[in-house]
Each structure stands twice: as C-alpha cells, then as structure tokens.
Amino acid sequence: MLSGKFDVQIREEDGYAVIQTEGYLNGPRGEDLAETAKNLMQKGHTKFVINLAETKLINSIGISILIEIIELLEERQGILNFCGLTPTIEHTFKLVALARHAGIFPDEDSAIAALNSP
C-alpha cells in the first residue's frame, strides 16, 4: 500500500534557507509548508530552496499555495528555487507558469548556487 506520510525539514544557512518536503503535498500540508516559509521570512530570510526530491505527488491546492509563497517572496524581492522535481511536477510547474517566477534546478547544490548568482 502507498502511504502519504508528509514531513518538512528546514535547514537555515548563512543567507538562505532550504526546506525539504517528503510525501504528498496537498492543501493542509501546503499550508504547513507556507507557514514554515512565512516564519523563515519573518526571521529575515528572502532566499529559499525548496527540495521536492521526496515529494512525488502534488495536487492543485498544493500548487496554489506554492504560488502564494512565491508572491510573498516577490513582495520582499526574494528568490525561490526548486530542485529534485519529478518530470511530471516539473512539467506541471511550467504549465501553470509557476516556473516563470521561480527557478527549477536538478539538485540542491545547483539550486543554492543559483541563489547567489547575479
């Protein structure tokens, strides 16, 4: 049987934060993720990497919430990069124009490096 266990791990580094999710990203879990991101923004973070390598499923509400996180960051002139996307999720991000406002990278290292590139 498949299980939708969900977990969020945070890693705060000098100048950026990495949020790693695990499991199905639906509405309530998306809200948990948004809350995590907002808390980090209140602490002054404006550069984020969201690592979705362990998230193979996402629904439309999860996508909406990711867009809202991007909007919040845009207000703060922040940057968000995604990494570890499945081909389906990457395609979905491009389709709903989410990829126009956030970077998509194959792995965490390249996503972090791009946060600081001009």
Partner: protein
C-alpha cells in the same frame, strides 16, 4: 486632526483613480497577483479617504468563511469569520453597511461576530460581489478626522469595491483556470505515465497515487473483479495514514447481492456490474464507510468489459475543510478510470504474452533435454530384437524408455512416465535416468533400487511430482527376466502361442512418498518371468492406452493386446510401427495431450 481642504481631497482623488487605472491594467494583463494588488487597493482606499485602518476579506463559498487577504492596523490577521449561507443575500442587497446601524436582516449576524468586528476595528463594510456572487468585503475603520461618511465617500468606495470585485473575480478565474490546466495535464500525463509500465501491480499503484492528486483527495483504492470468485477485490490503496486498515486492504465484496452486506458495499458492487453506475457519497454519516469523510466511485473499463472500480475519498481543501465531490469530479474520474482500465489491461495482456513466451522457451529447452535422454536407437541384445518409439503430443511430457547394457550378459530395460510437463518434468526425468543408470550398473536388487530411486526423486522434486516406473533386468543367456513395477502401466508378455501375461508386481509410484512413509508401506516386490523364442513384451505409457477418439472412447489395453497378439509373429520394429499407426488411426481428429511411448522386446 484638521479636515483636509477641498483641493487636497481632489488631489488624492485624482491620484487614487489614476492608480486604480494602472492597477486594473496590471490585473488584466495577468502579471499581477491578488495578494499584492489587494494590499495596493487597500492602501489606495485608506489613503484616498483618510481612514485609520481596514482590511479586504475574501469569502470562501465551500467553507462559508471570510478570511483576511490584506489589512492595515488590524490586530488579528488570522481572523476567520463564519457567514451562515442564509445571510449572504443580506450582503448582496446592501452595497454599504454602517456597522453602528446595520440593516435589520443582518443585525443578528453582526451581534454574533461583535468581538471579531472589534479586532478588525471595523466601522463600515462594503460587500464585494459580481452579479449574485458574494466575493468578500472591504472593512474600514473610522475616518482620521472623525467625520461621518459622506455621499461622495460612499460613491467612491463603491467604485473601489467594484474594481476590487473585478480583481478578485479575475484572480479566482486565474486560480480555477490554473487548476483546470493542472487537472487536464495530469489526466493526459498520467495516461502516458501509467501506459509506460507493463507491470500490472506497478500500474495499479500509479493509478491510485495519481488519482488522489487529480481530485485533490487524500485516499484512493483500486478494486478488481475476480471472475473466478465473482468478487470485487482490493488491489491497491493510497492513504495518508501510515498504517492501513487491514479490513480495507483485504476488502472483498461479492458481486452477487447479499442481504447482509453494508448498503455502500452493495452499491460498490453495483458500480462494477451495472452500466453507467457512479457512486458519490458526500454525506459524512454514510461515507463513514472505511472511516472516510466522503467518497466517489466509478467503473474502470477495459476494452470490452468492466475490470473493476476506482474509488477516491476525502476531498480536502484548505484548512483541512472537506469539500464535496461534484459531477465534474465524476466526469473527470470516469475519463481517468477508462485510461487506467486500458493501461491495466495492456499490462495484464503483456504479462500473459510474456509468460506464454517464457513457457514456450522453457518447452523448447525441455524438449532438447528430453531428446538427449531418450535413445535414438536401442542397444541390441544378443538373441533379442528391441525397438522403441517416442512421440511427443501437446507439449513436452516426461516419458522415458531405455535399454541399458550391464555386465555379465545382463540388460536393463526401463520405461517411465514423469508427472507434469515442461522443464520440471524434463529435469525430474533426467534425475530418474541418472539414478537408474547408476543403480542398475551396481546390480543391487530391484526393490532396493526402487527404494533408492524413490528417495532420490522425493528429495529432488516438488510436492506432488512423481514418476511411474517399470524396470526389468534380462539375463540374455538364461532368458530370465526379473522386473519391478512402481505404479506404471503393466507391460504385457505375449507368448508365442498368443496367451498374455501382465507384469504387475512392484509397489507404489516413485517420488511421491518420503522414505519414512515408504518404509511403513508394503515393501517393493519383484517377479521373474522366463522368456522363450517368439515371446514379446510390450512396454508402453498411458499415452498409448488412454488415447481417445472423437467419441471420447479410450484405445485401451484390450485393443493393444489384440493388436500385439495378431502381430506377434512380426519383427519388434514392425509391431511397434503397426501399434503406433493403429493408435493414430483410432485417434482420428481428436486432440491428444499426452506423449506416446512404446518399446517392444522380442525373443528371437
């Protein structure tokens, strides 16, 4: 605070309206988002009218709640105000509400949310709407200079409210459009994904995982019809609970009506058996089935028939609020289930074809092995003629015959039939042959040899695999034949005068019982037969005597005996060929599935 001059007011109005124009263009161009623009609207309203604070609240029709989208000078931004559905018309009928004197119809509501209004510091509410759709409210505090609201303030606020309503509606349209694009993409992408796999179980797991995402749900199950048991059986589950309900995982529903069955389970069975039957449960009490909040089920069709049922449960929105499954969800799920059905059927057919190819390859290998085990020609025994024939029919069986030269003028004659077909039968036969050749040359007594061969086959074969076996040792100098029959068809001795005897003595077939059980059974016995000139022995497998014709009649021992007696004066080869031809003639057009093996020994 001093009231602003008319000039200042006009300047603020011009500035506010021109900003409104720009904002409108940004929203229509699709580059803005309402999170940002709602804050701009609010600042514009507060600045133009010189109001101390306020908020834009959005209405969520699925939840009947108002939540703050943007605010200035509001104590609690996480405020959630519940709006009873029967109050909505009150908001639609009043474009402006003075909270110190609200319309009579809304008074109970505002009394109920009095404390929340205080945390909003609200004095005026301007409902936001497009036609009959209630979208939210602009909530405003007091004017800086404390003056009462004037007509031109209300008119201006109505302009702002209309503009904000359009922006909200447009934003909601964008969200819906995005969700629809997402669903359509998921529908097409999932079809591609699930069709890539040709492993039935993997496809089923992909289906349940994707369908929860497609319908914004939290659980899904795929049930397949088992035509043998006539039941609907759970094959794959997706659930947010890490420990699945065992009852659900093993759910099996009879397709035929059963009075003792839960009504919802009966309806699931109907989805699997009736045309165009769909099940939607939004009533939490009924959907308590499986411990779910709500559920929807549609048939999953293959190319020609319904394969099973796809069930999706727990559609959940923001803040964990349960959302109803809609007719639109049902349409989407049906489209998805049809794709899933074809993908599962494809995978199943592919696996069947793969299995058939594997069996064919195994049969070919087994046939090669068997060909190497059966002698092309039999060793010639001095003073005797020996001739054998093996004809495979309907797959590779485990027939075996042999003539083994031993020392001191002794010859071993064997015939056996191993149970089953294919590689397993061929390997068991190879084991028997190797054991026999080893034992026969050691000249052990035949019951002891049978015991050893039984032990060997029992240890090397699966449960239920066995061999019928007949072995004889011929002393070609004394013409004495000592034999043992372990459950094989009795070879017949046709005397030169035409009489017939059967070589029956021996014991149970080999390989089926372990040593300790064999030891408690009647011991293997051997018998001795004296052969004379013109005597023949017919060794055969059940493929000869159990050959049937189109009338389902058996060829049988009597026909074999009659033919052997009639041809007893012919050579061993002639007798063998004639029996074979007669069996084939008897068989006619009837299909046969067992190999045909014959061995003839004739004393010259």
């Amino acid at each position: 605070m001093q009231a602003p001059s008319a000039d200042e007011t006009i300047q603020r109005l011009i500035f506010g309206l021109s900003e409104l124009d720009e904002l409108g263009e940004t929203i229509i161009s699709g580059h803005g988002n309402f999170s940002v623009s709602s804050r701009t609207y609010l600042r514009m309203i507060l600045g133009t009218l010189q109001v101390s604070g306020g908020a834009i609240l959005l209405f969520h029709p699925n939840e009947n709640t108002l939540t703050i989208k943007s605010s200035v000078n509001v104590a609690d931004e996480s405020l959630v105000i519940r709006v009873p559905p029967d109050q909505i018309s009150g908001f639609l009928d009043h474009p402006y509400i003075d909270l110190s004197n609200p319309p009579e119809v809304l008074q109970p509501f505002f009394e109920h949310i009095h404390s929340q209004l205080q945390s909003l510091d609200a004095r005026f509410w301007f409902p936001l709407r497009i036609r009959d759709e209630f979208l939210g409210v602009i909530s405003l505090g007091a004017f800086f200079d404390g003056h009462e609201i004037e007509d031109w303030n209300r008119e201006l606020l109505n302009v702002f409210a209309n503009h904000t309503s359009i922006a909200i509606a447009y934003s909601q349209l964008m969200v819906r459009s995005r969700a629809e694009r997402f669903r359509l993409f998921m529908l097409s992408d999932t079809a591609t994904q699930i069709c890539k796999s040709l492993d039935t179980e993997a496809v089923q797991e992909e289906v349940v995982a994707h369908v929860v995402s497609l319908l914004d749900a939290n659980a899904a199950g795929l049930m397949r019809i088992n035509p043998n048991t006539e039941r609907l059986e759970m094959k794959s589950l997706f659930s947010l609970e890490s420990h699945a309900n065992t009852e659900l995982r093993n759910l099996s529903i009879p397709l035929k009506s059963d009075e003792n069955l839960h009504p919802a389970l009966t309806m699931l069975a109907e989805v699997a058996t009736q045309e165009d039957k769909t099940l939607i449960y939004n009533d939490e009490q009924n959907a308590a089935l499986f411990g779910r909040k709500n559920l929807i089920a549609v048939p999953m069709r293959g190319r020609e028939e319904i394969l099973g049922v796809l069930i999706v449960a727990d559609k959940v929105g923001r803040r964990g609020i349960t959302l109803d499954f809609t007719v639109g969800d049902s349409t989407l799920l049906e489209a998805f289930a049809n794709q899933a059905g074809v993908a599962i059927e494809n995978a199943f057919l592919y696996q069947e074809a793969l299995e058939a190819r594997r069996l064919q390859a195994e049969m070919e290998e087994a046939e090669k092995i068997q060909r190497t085990l059966i002698p092309d020609t039999l060793a010639q025994i001095p003073g005797y003629e020996a001739f054998g024939l093996y004809q495979p029919r309907g797959g590779v069986g485990g027939d075996y015959y042999d003539c083994i030269p031993e020392s001191d003028g002794m010859w071993g004659l064997a015939i056996a039939d191993v149970s089953g077909k294919g590689m397993q039968a061929a390997l068991l036969m190879a084991t028997l042959r190797a054991g026999l050749r080893s034992e026969a040359t050691r000249k052990t007594d035949l019951p002891a040899m049978a015991f050893t061969l039984n032990s060997l086959l029992n240890a090397s074969g699966d449960f239920g695999k066995y061999a019928t076996f007949f072995f004889a040792q011929l002393n070609a100098e004394t013409n004495q034949l000592t034999s043992i029959n372990a459950g094989h068809n009795d070879p017949m001795v046709i005397r030169s005068g035409g009489s017939c005897e059967w070589l029956k003595k021996g014991g149970v077939m080999l390989g089926i019982f372990p040593d300790d059980m064999i030891a408690n059974m009647p011991p293997f016995e051997q018998e001795t037969t004296q052969l004379a000139s013109g005597d023949i022995i017919i060794f055969y497998t059940d493929g000869v005597t159990e050959t049937t014709n189109i009338n389902d009649e058996l060829y049988g021992e009597a026909r074999l005996q009659d033919t052997a007696v009639r041809l007893r004066n012919e050579s061993a080869e002639t007798i063998c060929g004639a029996i074979y031809d007669e069996v084939l003639e008897f068989q006619g057009e009837a299909e046969q599935f067992d190999d045909l093996t014959l061995m003839i020994l004739k004393k010259k």
